[in-house]
């Protein structure tokens, strides 16, 4: 296994002497992140969690369930998670959302409580601005949360009914009271929804991922370069097997990618004020994202016949995925086609993982982004390694 280490060290020495890696790995991302942070950082910069303003219009006054909804919203306001204003009717609520007085609104229709208690279909209407998909998502999440509470309350109420002596309305109220015994989980969930990365952190993470894509294909590129300069044939004539050569190139890609992002994160913390929380889990996200990026770049660049062509392919992938993945401007969130498409990029999942971490919590909070990134890495790296092995044998 020592020969793998020697190949990696030899390649790293050459990369360091080439100096290009420092430009793409440190200087360029620093410059871009600083420029974006200065220009747009105020839109995202928050020292405190974002507090959305919601409007509530209750057309079902006196109803036990609709009153419970108002109480739940008031609790969230007390916690400092949201702001609440009440509106007399649907029209004034719509106007408030349209004119930006509130970020989104909830309308409780007449007969809501009665319908809920009777087990008929009932709904809280979310009024949102289509140009603000993030806050619309948060509002929808609150409404869904409440619907779940009511559903579980009904179940609890049904259990109480078995004991006898309750009217249907009493059953639901009793159930709702029972469901209040677990508020921390609900608050934590909502808190995570309303938190996001601040400007310097967002743009630093985006720039780090964007420029990492330019250097993470170094393993495949150096393989093609070795083929061009005939040193690959010389390596193949030595007792080192092709599998070890490929292993060395894979390790090189991961080492350069992780080194580039890691170094940049360190520098951006001091120079740009980026705030990287939970370093061990962030490091896991970085490794998974670098693995996925290395796999994607190698897969695409693997079609190239020369190292120059592979470099061009790498650049195209880096730019396209960087923009699509929201490395410069947030596009994830909401239901737009672009947002869905962005889920095919490691950038989007990496940023989502970092965002999830800001709400607190451990590994479980980033389980989904981490699993997706690891899956991307496993699939793309396996395919590209098989292709590279075929190239070595031809």
């Amino acid at each position: 296994m020592r020969d793998i280490g020697w190949i990696v060290l030899k390649d790293l020495r050459q990369q360091v002497r080439d100096r290009t890696i420092f430009i793409f790995g440190l200087v360029a991302p620093l410059a871009i992140a600083a420029a974006l942070s200065l220009a747009f950082g105020s839109f995202l910069r928050t020292d405190e969690p974002v507090v959305f303003e919601f409007g509530v219009s209750n057309a079902d006054p006196g109803g036990s369930i609709s009153e419970a909804f108002s109480v739940a919203m008031a609790e969230l306001e007390t916690e400092g998670l949201i702001g609440i204003t009440f509106h007399r009717d649907r029209l004034s609520l719509d106007r408030a959302v349209e004119e930006g007085e509130v970020d989104a609104g909830f309308f409780i229709p007449h007969g809501f409580s009665q319908a809920t208690v009777a087990g008929w279909e009932a709904e809280v209407i979310v009024v949102a601005n289509p140009e603000a998909p993030v806050v619309a998502g948060v509002a929808a999440s609150i409404a869904e949360q409440f619907a779940l509470e009511v559903a579980s309350a009904s179940a609890a109420g049904a259990t109480l009914a078995l004991l006898g002596g309750f009217t249907p309305e009493q059953m639901v109220q009793a159930g709702l009271a029972a469901s209040q015994t677990n508020p921390p989980a609900r608050v934590a969930s909502l808190e995570a929804e309303v938190r996001q990365l601040d400007g310097p952190t967002y743009y630093s993470a985006g720039a780090a991922m964007f420029f990492m894509m330019f250097v993470v294909g170094v393993g495949l590129l150096s393989l093609l370069e070795e083929r061009k300069r005939h040193t690959l044939a010389r390596l193949l004539s030595s007792p080192v097997g092709p599998g070890r050569i490929l292993a060395a190139k894979f390790i090189l890609s991961i080492a350069v990618g992780v080194g580039s992002v890691g170094l940049f994160m360190l520098v951006s913390r001091f120079l740009l004020g980026a705030d990287w929380v939970n370093l061990p889990i962030t490091a896991l996200l970085v490794v998974a994202a670098v693995g996925a990026a290395a796999g994607i770049v190698s897969l695409v660049a693997g079609w190239a016949r020369t190292s120059e062509q592979a470099q061009n392919f790498q650049s195209v992938v880096a730019v396209a995925m960087g923009i699509l993945g929201g490395a410069f401007f947030p596009i994830s969130g909401g239901d737009s086609f672009l947002a869905t498409l962005s889920l095919a990029t490691p950038h989007a999942w990496f940023m989502r993982g970092l965002g999830d971490l800001t709400g607190g919590g451990g590994l479980g909070v980033v389980a989904l982004p981490l699993a997706v990134l690891a899956g991307m890495a496993a699939v793309t790296l396996t395919i590209s390694l098989l292709g590279a092995r075929r190239m070595l044998r031809s």
Binding site: H230, T231, L235, S237, P239, R393
Partner: protein, 324 residues
């Protein structure tokens, strides 16, 4: 200048290299068609053939760089397969192209490839110094190779192949693009290594190198080994014939065709300089040769009559000049 070769553990009865029925195709083209030969310890075997004859493909399969489509390669009694790598430590391959890392120094290049061959520690450092001395690069050892001249790079390219003191050294056209002085030095080194007991497989299309260095020669053409033996044995196949080298310009193709129809002319091939003939007796034939060429619109610049050599053997065997 001294050399040392480590082949003591080999059975003296076993050839260092055995090649049996080696084959390789690229699509429809059969680049190598059933090549077989052997090389003993201390023997220098020359593989002679024109460009595109299949020399490099054969060599790359022997070196384990290229997968063979069929046949067998055995080095020091161990068969070379895609899964066995240890057998490669018995071989040192010097590719025709310069295979160096430009951003590393001569010493770093040697140390890296030495490590790939399993050398380490003091043994590696000692061999690196020895090879730097052998290739006369000691005073430039720590400079990046990108700054080296073509001759220096060529010498280092050969030095890497020698670093681990292999039992079999495979040299693929090592003197291409090398100045006369460096070329003489390389040939001297190869001769010395053979004297020390190393088996050498040497490919070239330079007749004079093969005649000077090689104990035995295999002539390869269109992927097939068409003749094999010592120089004397091969020349004997030509018989009492004489070689006539004509420097000429004009319609050489028509001139060669008409000359081949003359009585006493066995072969007529076109070379870069003119026409190469293999004849029974040159003296009475020359006036008719010149007359035929003039009639074919060929301007003759000079005529040289030589005893048969390997070039004549190739012409005799293939009907073509080696360097056409």
């Amino acid at each position: 200048m001294t050399f040392s070769v480590s082949s003591a553990d080999n059975d003296p009865g076993v050839p260092v290299l055995q090649v049996e029925d080696l084959r390789k195709s690229y699509g429809e083209i059969q680049a190598v068609r059933g090549v077989s030969f052997e090389i003993a310890a201390g023997e220098n075997y020359g593989l002679l053939g024109p460009n595109g004859a299949g020399k490099t493909t054969t060599i790359q399969m022997i070196a384990g760089v290229l997968a063979a489509a069929g046949g067998r390669v055995t080095v020091c009694g161990q068969e070379l397969t895609t899964s066995t790598t240890s057998v490669k430590s018995h071989m040192g391959w010097v590719p025709q192209e310069i295979a160096l890392y430009d951003r590393l120094s001569a010493r770093e290049n040697l140390a890296f490839f030495g490590r790939m061959q399993g050398l380490s520690g003091r043994a590696l450092a000692k061999r690196v110094d020895e090879v730097l001395g052998l290739t006369a690069l000691g005073d430039r050892a720590d400079e990046k190779t990108v700054k080296f001249s073509g001759g220096m790079r060529r010498r280092l390219n050969i030095g890497i192949g020698l670093l681990h003191q292999p039992d079999l050294l495979i040299l693929d056209e090592p003197t291409v693009g090398v100045d006369i002085q460096s070329r003489a030095g390389i040939l001297d080194q190869v001769a010395e290594m053979t004297r020390q007991g190393m088996a050498v497989l040497y490919t070239t299309h330079y007749i004079e190198e093969v005649e000077r260095l090689c104990h035995r020669v295999g002539i390869i053409d269109h992927g097939q080994l068409i003749a094999e033996g010592t120089r004397a044995e091969l020349v004997k196949t030509v018989g009492e014939r004489t070689r006539v080298l004509i420097s000429a310009d004009g319609n050489l193709s028509e001139g060669a065709d008409r000359l081949s129809e003359l009585d006493g002319v066995h072969q007529a091939g076109i070379t870069k300089e003119g026409i190469d003939l293999l004849v029974d007796d040159a003296t009475p034939l020359l006036p008719r040769v010149l007359e035929t060429l003039t009639g074919s619109g060929v301007a003759v610049g000079g005529v040289r009559v030589e005893e048969p050599d390997l070039e004549a053997v190739f012409l005799h065997l293939t009907g073509r000049a080696l360097r056409d």
